[in-house]
């Protein structure tokens, strides 16, 4: 683990551009993005479908290479994946042949811990997501929400400086989703981690994020960053919360 200094978990995005090739023609997705993610903050990324949210997150994860520009973490340009970052994908991506506890310990094992050491450390995170009675269950014995929680525990267990989440709650039903949002809010508060959350759900963004990055739909538009300075724990029914929602809806031209 790297030393915890003032900029632990700080991310700088500089002149970042990325296009894909579609039917032989270039398809620009990210155009000259510039912003900073503050250490320890939680940033939500919202935007219309196809606006490049997943692409941006994958570039930050090091799973996708930018065409130009750079991503700096704590002042150093990233090259590919790195263990100071952990990714929570839209699907839980659990290993079906490992039990819950070993899935949670997977990242610890690949980073050099023995299975027993990994289990010991993983146990705390299994508890954190409330699955202690399912430690020895296999993924196929879990519900969708439980599986997603295992994925979250696995990412937290490696104690990343930066947690990247791509619509982690997208596939869940409304009730599970709200309780998971509460859980995430609690985890953000307790763990010292910078988070980048891609979401379709404006309310989720306001509920969880310190700031929201809005990616433009058409590539001529400019990305916008808005601050959510609501006290925590947040309440979805307060006038201030509702105002933020309306502000966002307006930005999307939906009001």
């Amino acid at each position: 683990m790297s030393i915890a200094h003032a900029v632990r978990g700080e991310v700088t995005i500089r002149h970042l551009s990325k296009s894909f090739v579609l039917n032989g023609k270039p398809l620009p997705v990210l155009r000259d993005l510039n912003f900073k993610i503050r250490p320890g903050e939680s940033l939500a990324i919202v935007g219309a479908s196809g606006s490049g949210k997943t692409t941006l997150l994958r570039v930050l994860a090091g799973l996708e290479e930018a065409d130009s520009g750079e991503v700096l973490i704590e002042g150093k340009v990233i090259r590919g994946v790195g263990t100071e970052r952990a990714v929570i994908f839209q699907e839980p991506r659990l290993l079906p042949w490992l039990t819950v506890i070993d899935n949670v310990g997977f990242g610890l094992e690949t980073q050099g811990l023995s299975r027993e050491e990994a289990r010991t450390r993983a146990r705390r995170y299994v508890q954190l997501v409330g699955l202690q009675s399912f430690e020895n269950a296999y993924p196929r014995q879990l519900s969708g929400g439980m599986a997603q929680r295992v994925g979250i525990a696995r990412a937290l267990a490696v104690q990343p400086e930066i947690l990247l989440l791509d619509e982690p709650l997208g596939a869940l039903d409304a009730m599970t989703k709200i309780s998971m949002q509460q859980e995430l809010a609690r985890i953000w508060r307790d763990e010292d981690v910078t988070t980048v959350l891609v979401t379709h759900d404006l309310e989720e963004a306001i509920y969880l994020a310190d700031r929201i990055l809005i990616l433009p739909k058409d590539k001529g538009g400019e990305p916008r960053l808005i601050e959510i300075d609501l006290p925590r724990p947040r309440d979805r029914s307060t006038p201030a919360f509702v105002r933020h929602r309306e502000e966002l809806l307006n930005l999307f031209g939906l009001h």
């Binding site: 994860a61 994946v81 952990a86 991506r93 690949t110």
Partner: protein, 283 residues
């Protein structure tokens, strides 16, 4: 396959509270136990009964389809006198050697080929060609190359068992979910770790399909392999008994092969259940 349909240990290995328990009344209990048995073995029992009756009553020619008791008597006679034991030993040795070689070569080669796209694509047409060419058709070639002795017999069985295993393994590796590999990469897993922790376990179920197919083939091929230039072996006994018109003995040897095939399959299914507790084998 029918071996997998029942009594998966998985069904009992994970008892959630509130799971349905079997009702304690005796009637439904017997029906509950008997039902699956009947649906599973009913047809084979019916077939055997029909065989016995039609042979006894002369519905079929009993010299060609002798009644079961004669066949079983012939089998018992062969085994208790020790006459068939030698045949069993030599046949198992041939099949076993061939199967073991196919495992030793097919699985590693399949794991390798499945991972490297270029190799797989280059070799695929050749593989498909060999697979379509029946091992039996090549047997004369093997005899020409290796002589009439053990080598050609083992080799023809090896050849026939290699391809199902190789193709199943390649298929298993190619099917591995690339999203899982990507996930592992984000946790710093290198190629060796990815192979050991993802590709290998993910391929095990497919490999077992190949293993079971190969094991069955290894025993079936005995009949052909021991047809020429053999004076021992279960396959030889089938041919020899037929030649000498010892029809019950012929059927006894065929039955023996079937039983060995079932046993091999059962052992592999057990092993698979042990290794793949995580997967719902019967789904």
């Amino acid at each position: 396959m029918s071996f997998e349909t029942l009594n998966s240990p998985l069904a009992t290995s994970f008892d959630l509270p509130g799971r349905n328990r079997r009702p304690s009344t005796l009637g439904p209990w017997i029906a509950g136990r008997l039902g699956p048995l009947v649906s599973r073995y009913g047809l084979i029992v019916g077939f055997l009964v029909l065989w016995q009756i039609s042979s006894k009553l002369g519905w079929v020619n009993p010299t060609i389809f002798p009644p079961l008791d004669l066949i079983i008597a012939a089998l018992w006679e062969g085994i208790s006198s020790g006459a068939l034991l030698d045949d069993i030993a030599i046949s198992l040795q041939r099949s076993g050697l061939a199967f073991a070689s196919a495992v030793a070569i097919g699985i590693p080669l399949g794991l390798f080929m499945g991972q490297i796209r270029a190799v797989e694509q280059a070799l695929d047409p050749l593989l498909q060609f060999f697979r379509q060419t029946s091992a039996l058709a090549l047997y004369p070639v093997f005899i020409l190359l290796l002589g009439l002795g053990e080598a050609s017999k083992v080799f023809v069985i090896f050849w026939a068992t290699l391809f199902p295993l190789l193709l199943a393994t390649i298929g298993g590796v190619k099917e591995v979910d690339t999203k899982l590999i990507e996930m592992a990469r984000t946790y710093g897993a290198g190629p060796v770790t990815i192979f050991r922790r993802i590709v290998l376990p993910a391929s095990v179920p497919a490999i077992f399909v190949g293993l079971r197919l190969s094991a069955t083939t290894a025993l079936l091929l005995l009949i052909a392999a021991e047809m020429i230039g053999a004076n021992k072996g279960i396959g030889f006994q089938v041919m020899n008994a037929q030649y000498n018109f010892q029809v019950p003995l012929m059927f006894a040897a065929i039955l023996l092969l079937a039983l060995l095939g079932l046993a091999a399959n059962a052992v592999l299914v057990l092993l698979q259940r042990k290794l793949c507790r995580w997967s719902q084998i019967n789904a």
